[in-house]
């Protein structure tokens, strides 16, 4: 019985670690990416897989209880509302005439960076 609990704990920790990595990667992406529409994608990473994985890890910890059902409900609500909110923000920005960056974005070549010119 002890070994089962140990396996459950390890599965929970692994899921939570992956979820935390996704959330942090999304947060870093929101800071680093160049324009609004690309930042939106980075925020989407957090809301889909990261949040669901953390909720799943907590469900493993809670076991088969009423608390677990509530956690499932929170995960379900996040799963439904986050794409809707992302679409609402994107649609509002598009209607308001915010133009997306469509050219290739890459860091300037070191030689160009020195002379202060953009390729």
């Amino acid at each position: 019985m002890d070994i089962l609990l140990l396996i459950r704990d390890f599965a929970s920790i692994a899921l939570m670690a992956v979820g935390v990595i996704f959330v942090l990667a999304g947060a870093i992406g929101v800071v680093r990416l160049p324009d609004f529409y690309t930042r939106m994608h980075a925020a989407g990473v957090t809301d889909t897989l990261g949040a669901e994985m953390i909720v799943l890890a907590l469900m493993l910890q809670a076991g088969f209880t009423l608390l677990s059902a509530k956690l499932l409900l929170v995960g379900f609500i996040l799963f439904l509302t986050s794409p809707t909110a992302t679409h609402a923000v994107a649609n509002a920005a598009h209607r308001a005439g915010l133009n997306p960056l469509l050219s290739r974005h890459q860091p300037p070549h070191p030689r160009d960076a020195e002379s202060g010119e953009k390729p």
């Binding site: 704990d9 929970s12 920790i13 939570m16 670690a17 979820g19 935390v20 959330v23 942090l24 999304g26 947060a27 870093i28 929101v30 800071v31 609004f36 930042r39 939106m40 925020a43 957090t46 809301d47 949040a51 953390i54 909720v55 907590l58 910890q61 809670a62 608390l67 509530k70 956690l71 409900l73 929170v74 609500i77 996040l78 509302t81 986050s82 809707t84 909110a85 992302t86 609402a88 923000v89 509002a92 920005a93 209607r95 308001a96 915010l98």
Partner: protein
């Protein structure tokens, strides 16, 4: 062991929230700020969930549930306000449509 993992996850959530707060203040356009606020809310929900399991009180899960719902509604309400400069326009449109359809129940 589990407690330490939960504590680490909670601290990581707090760190992600701090980063989001930076984008919220720095964001050049309004939509960046709304996006950051929405993402901040999602991380708040996760932090509440982890915290309520960490301290062993199940009440936090209910609060997280409410926060998830309010976060979504707040995002929609902010966007709607900045598009129409009013929150009542949908009700006005609805009553107009009802008047055109000609049924009042």
């Amino acid at each position: 062991m589990m407690e330490w993992a939960n504590l680490g996850a909670a601290l990581a959530m707090a760190l992600a929230m701090a980063i989001m707060l930076g984008r919220l203040f720095a964001g050049p356009s309004l939509y960046d700020r709304v996006l950051a606020a929405n993402s901040f809310g999602t991380k708040t929900v996760l932090l509440l969930l982890i915290f309520s399991l960490l301290v062993g009180r199940a009440d936090g899960v209910d609060i997280a549930l409410l926060y998830a719902l309010i976060n979504f509604i707040a995002t929609i309400a902010i966007l709607k306000f900045f598009r129409y400069r009013s929150l009542e326009i949908a009700l006005a449109q609805m009553s107009l449509r009802r008047a055109i359809d000609g049924d009042d129940d």
